[in-house]
Symmetry: C2
Subunit: 268 residues, 2 copies
Amino acid sequence: MNACLINGQALSRIAISDRAIHYGDGLFETIALKYGVMPFWCDHYQRLLLGCERLKFPPLNEALLLQEIDVVKQNQHHAIIKIIITRDASERGYRIPKANTVKRIVQAYSLSEYPEKNYQEGVRVIFCKTPVSENKHLAGIKHINRLDNVLASSEWEDESIAEGLMSNAQQHIIQGTKSNIFCVREGEFYTPDLSSAGILGIMRAQIITWAELHNIKMNIKAITRDDLFAADEIFLCNSIFGIWPVTRLEEHDLPIGNYTQKLLNYFG
Amino acid sequence: MNACLINGQALSRIAISDRAIHYGDGLFETIALKYGVMPFWCDHYQRLLLGCERLKFPPLNEALLLQEIDVVKQNQHHAIIKIIITRDASERGYRIPKANTVKRIVQAYSLSEYPEKNYQEGVRVIFCKTPVSENKHLAGIKHINRLDNVLASSEWEDESIAEGLMSNAQQHIIQGTKSNIFCVREGEFYTPDLSSAGILGIMRAQIITWAELHNIKMNIKAITRDDLFAADEIFLCNSIFGIWPVTRLEEHDLPIGNYTQKLLNYFG
């Protein structure tokens, strides 16, 4: 059993009236705790605040969240902290109730172990058939309406495939099911524009900053399958696993390039 | 407190590991019980089965659902029955767990009372700013990823507005926040194509059948705001309230037309 606090109380069940159960009305963050600290806390918290604003949740209390994380992590130095923000349904129907009572669910999980060879040899990636859901008002934030990721992740069973790429209706690549994607061509970085779909990943933002610090041109734009096949390097990222080089895209092989290697050394 | 069964047990709380809470991984139906019967049971059950197929839920047992509904309705002859289908998270992550354990939540609510004048004088309707989420693999079914409806329903507070209309990114009208929409022009019916977004409503299907029985041409296609402003009649429908004539669309007034009146007499 994972440690869990609901609004500060040690509970493992939630009222059936919660709007997460009825409408997916909520937000979440999955945060790496490493060596006793959360290196990207500020980025997670910022995204959570943006989500609260978009979904009309009242502001969160950062100190309270940090105290609750401190309780659930117990004596672990390496863990995954999951925060879910939802609200109660005081009335039936979609409309946000006037009371707008926030529920904070804070949990600790053991840190996932990913195969060492994902970093050293790179990963195999396929294209998913399930499209990403498109909605400009919901794009970017980490809300709970994640059926597109659920279906896309369930498209393959072959354990040698590490990730699937999801596209929009125009067949532009948006993201992996649990990661963001970058490619490198002729010394420039490219990553999909996420203004209509996808999640603004924490590690994605770190890489955008890293590129700027290293004077590398970053292109945030629509990216096609052909763009990926023409790339010199491709890599995936998220805040839990860090960086994975893509060395096989469908039947196409790629090397682990210099830029990817540098990022692996830094974030891997 | 509403009567509630979770997999047949009288419970009011659900395990925090449920995937509805984490990803909105589930389906629902809101079913009218009138005079002790559910006149559209078959249609709701059909849509639920389609949803199960799309979201890779194992098939449901109809007899079991009906028995559970019979328990929660207690001695009520008029009520709203809500069914939620979700699954447990035996592992962390988006992928559907191999166990794929279904949870059935069956609840009874008291039937909503809508103002009599919604039927007699018609309703006032506005255009919402929140777009509908678009995803061909999720369109049509009644899944729990309903943040677009939540945000759209929360755009107005004026009690004189009965419904808001939601559009896709191309500004085609798709649906109301809690209803489907039809318009009538020169004796023909029009209703939005829902192949990329929206819910295939139970009452919508009834009206399509009714039109066919009455030899009225039905056009299921992209519908613009201009199409609505040019319509002779507009009405909204859902399986709980039946039919509401639209007599005011933004600042534009409309009459309650003959076709709408016939439908009101039949379904209203």
